[in-house]
């Protein structure tokens, strides 16, 4: 197998918090590489540091020590505006509680990341319509989040996370608020995305997820205690380190 550059590379990353008088080592020397096209589940009991890790990976927070290379760029000590820019350009977020903006319609929600990228309205509108159609919400473009079911809202969130064509998608308990049927639908979309070459990182405490991903990383007390292949077996579409496919190719037309 050809040597690939990791899409995410953490080198001895530490994160310390001060809680009152005590200093908490939320992350205690984590070193790991994630390759393009991987579908990683980060697991562990609550308090193990997985949320902290996700925040670091999502450039929402910065490590106290160590380096974080995202797509080859060291982002561990970037200033705030550049962090925002990095998030907007390279990362897609999917949250447990969908986090759609209530006053905006489905389309406008999908457009939010593009808006901050400064894309002209007609272009971002085009992308948003295409993505909304691809996640099966072509008939609900002008609905507001409170008019949609949880599963539908999460599909909007997925479309939103894909809008800026990120190199990594970070999902935080993305199925945690959904019934099993809707959750299954969402996981199906994730698998499909991964099959088409998207790199996905899924944070969960659900042990069953181990069978649905290609790699499982288990954290305990801020350290990686387990790193093994997961149960998901499918041939990824792009084994070589080609740039991540455009959203248009990412999901087949439904």
């Amino acid at each position: 197998m050809k040597k690939e550059t990791p899409i995410i590379s953490l080198q001895n990353v530490r994160k310390r918090y001060r809680m009152g008088d005590a200093i908490v080592n939320a992350l205690d020397g984590i070193t790991l590489d994630i390759m393009p096209g991987e579908y990683v589940a980060i697991m562990g009991a609550s308090g193990c540091g997985k949320s902290t890790l996700l925040n670091l990976l999502g450039c929402l927070d910065q490590p106290t020590e160590g380096d974080y290379l995202l797509g080859g760029q060291n982002v561990s000590h970037l200033e705030d505006d550049l962090l925002s820019k990095t998030r907007g350009k390279k990362l897609g977020f999917i949250f447990q509680s969908y986090n759609l903006i209530q006053q905006l319609t489905v389309l406008e929600n999908i457009e939010v990341p593009l808006y901050y990228q400064g894309l002209p309205p007609h272009e971002s509108r085009e992308i948003a319509v295409r993505l909304a159609t691809q996640v099966g919400l072509g008939k609900r473009l002008d609905h507001r989040p409170n008019e949609l079911s949880g599963g539908q809202q999460q599909r909007v969130a997925i479309a939103r996370s894909l809008a800026n064509d990120p190199i990594v998608i970070l999902a935080d308990e993305a199925t945690g608020n959904l019934d099993s049927k809707s959750g299954e639908e969402i996981l199906g979309i994730f698998e499909e995305l991964n099959r088409l070459g998207k790199t996905l990182i899924f944070v969960t405490h659900d042990p069953a997820m181990a069978n649905r991903v290609s790699r499982v990383i288990r954290l305990h007390d801020g350290q990686v205690v387990e790193d093994r292949p997961g149960g998901l077996k499918h041939k990824t579409a792009s084994p070589n380190p080609t740039p991540a496919p455009a959203p248009a190719e990412a999901i087949p037309n439904s």
Binding site: S84, K85, R87, K89, F95, V112
Partner: protein
């Protein structure tokens, strides 16, 4: 740093601005009632400022106009019925004797330097008749140069001449309203009117001059207010004619019955050549009269002093108004700030999401500032509309003069928007400074 290059980038890009405004409108629309109530603070602030300014401006304009009509170089001396002569009212047939005399006038002319003209005037109240029509007029006996000194315009015909004055001719000049009353269908010039049993030929019409106030009306000093004539009926006749035809005793109706009054001169206007000397001359005149009259049966009006007083009053008014305006706008601004802080707290998670999706600090600041400016701007616009409507209503209903300049609405609106920006910065900055991680975790 609040405003960095990104902010200017956003501001310079109209596409962004348009979308930000749309987004702001959507967010405000979600909280309609709250937004409305918040904007109301600014609405009332702005509208009250404009309304008060225009009413105040109108009132002071009217006062200044009246004072200017008296002539800024003039000193006006009027006979006033002494207040302690209430006995005359009880005894209805006693002749009250008071007021300025020709002797006073001669002394003033001889002692005070730099006086150009002295206009003596006498006044009485009488019915003027034209066949069956009548008008209760202030009949004013005066001199030919009266119009030029009192800034009274002769709109039709002419004023009486020196010759007519000397010869005691029965001519008269009517004020416009009196002319309308007596001659509704024809031109009065050349026609005659009857005053008691004397006929006067109308030779001219003057514009109605606004009254200083009902009480200080010429010839109205001693008359009771209840039967003050309609509007401003005035009939001007040569002083000489008046003295000859009606004598020195004036017959007045009053509440208790009838009064006869003996007043030589009701009013004297002294015009000073040097505008700077008006106040000094007024003091000299006061001094002379003080010596001649034991009781204060005269009053001295110095229009220039009144004018200065009016200007001072206006200044004080403006300061008071300015403070009220400032306070009301600060209150409105605090209201906006309060609501925007609540908005920021409520929308913490939205802010976190936006930050996660690539929004910079400046984007968040801009978003919230746009909202406050929309709030205050909309409040300002409604306030201006209301502020323009109130003076209109006041002048319609109360008959007060109001003057709405372009300056007041513009100023009030600008200040309201500035208030929005100033009071919006803190909440917006607070929103932008939220830690994205904590904002996302916010319930």
């Amino acid at each position: 740093m609040i405003f960095n290059t990104t902010t200017f980038h956003i501001l310079s890009n109209p596409r962004h601005l348009k979308r930000s405004i749309l987004l702001g409108l959507k967010s405000l629309w979600m909280r309609k009632l709250r937004s409305l109530l918040t904007a109301l603070g600014i609405v009332f602030g702005v509208s009250s400022v404009i309304a008060m300014l225009s009413i105040g401006e109108g009132a002071s304009h009217e006062a200044q106009l009246q004072i200017k009509q008296l002539g800024s170089q003039n000193v006006i001396i009027r006979s006033v019925k002494p207040s302690d002569s209430s006995a005359t009212e009880a005894a209805a047939t006693v002749i009250a004797e008071y007021g300025l005399t020709v002797r006073d006038l001669d002394q003033i002319r001889d002692t005070v330097p730099g006086i150009s003209i002295v206009v003596p005037a006498r006044a009485s109240r009488a019915f003027a008749w034209r066949y069956a029509r009548n008008a209760e007029c202030d009949v004013l006996g005066t001199v030919p140069w009266f119009p030029s000194m009192r800034n009274i315009k002769v709109t039709n015909g002419r004023f009486f001449s020196d010759v007519e004055m000397r010869n005691r001719v029965n001519v008269c000049v009517l004020s416009e309203s009196a002319a309308r009353q007596l001659f509704p269908l024809e031109s009065p010039v050349g026609k005659t009117v009857r005053l008691e049993n004397t006929y006067f030929r109308v030779i001219g019409i003057t514009a109605d001059n606004p009254q200083i106030s009902a009480d200080s009306d010429i010839g109205n000093n001693s008359a009771s207010d209840s039967d003050s004539p309609d509007e401003n009926f005035q009939m001007l006749i040569p002083l000489s004619t008046m003295l000859e035809r009606f004598g020195e005793i004036v017959f007045e109706r009053s509440a208790g019955g009838y009064t006869w009054e003996k007043v030589e001169l009701h009013e004297v206007v002294v015009k000073c050549e040097d505008p700077e000397a008006v106040v000094a001359n007024a003091n000299a005149i006061r001094h002379i009269l003080n010596r001649n009259h034991k009781t204060p049966d005269y009053e001295i009006i110095v229009p220039i002093e009144l004018l200065r007083q009016a200007e001072r009053t206006k200044q004080i008014f403006n300061i008071v108004l300015g403070s009220i305006a400032a306070i009301s706008l600060i209150v409105g601004g605090i209201g906006i700030m309060n609501i925007m802080l609540a908005n920021v707290t409520e929308r913490t998670r939205e802010i976190g999401v936006r930050r996660a999706l690539g929004a910079k600090r400046a984007d968040i600041i801009f978003q919230f500032l746009v909202e406050t400016v929309i709030l205050s701007g909309a409040g300002g616009i409604i306030g201006v509309a209301l502020g323009l409507a109130i003076p209109l209503l006041v002048s319609q209903l109360a008959g007060m003069t109001t003057i709405v300049g372009i300056g007041a609405p513009l100023l009030a609106f600008t200040i309201s928007v500035l208030t929005g920006i100033i009071f919006g910065i803190y909440p917006a900055k607070r929103a932008a400074d939220l830690n994205p991680v904590e904002a996302l975790r916010h319930e």
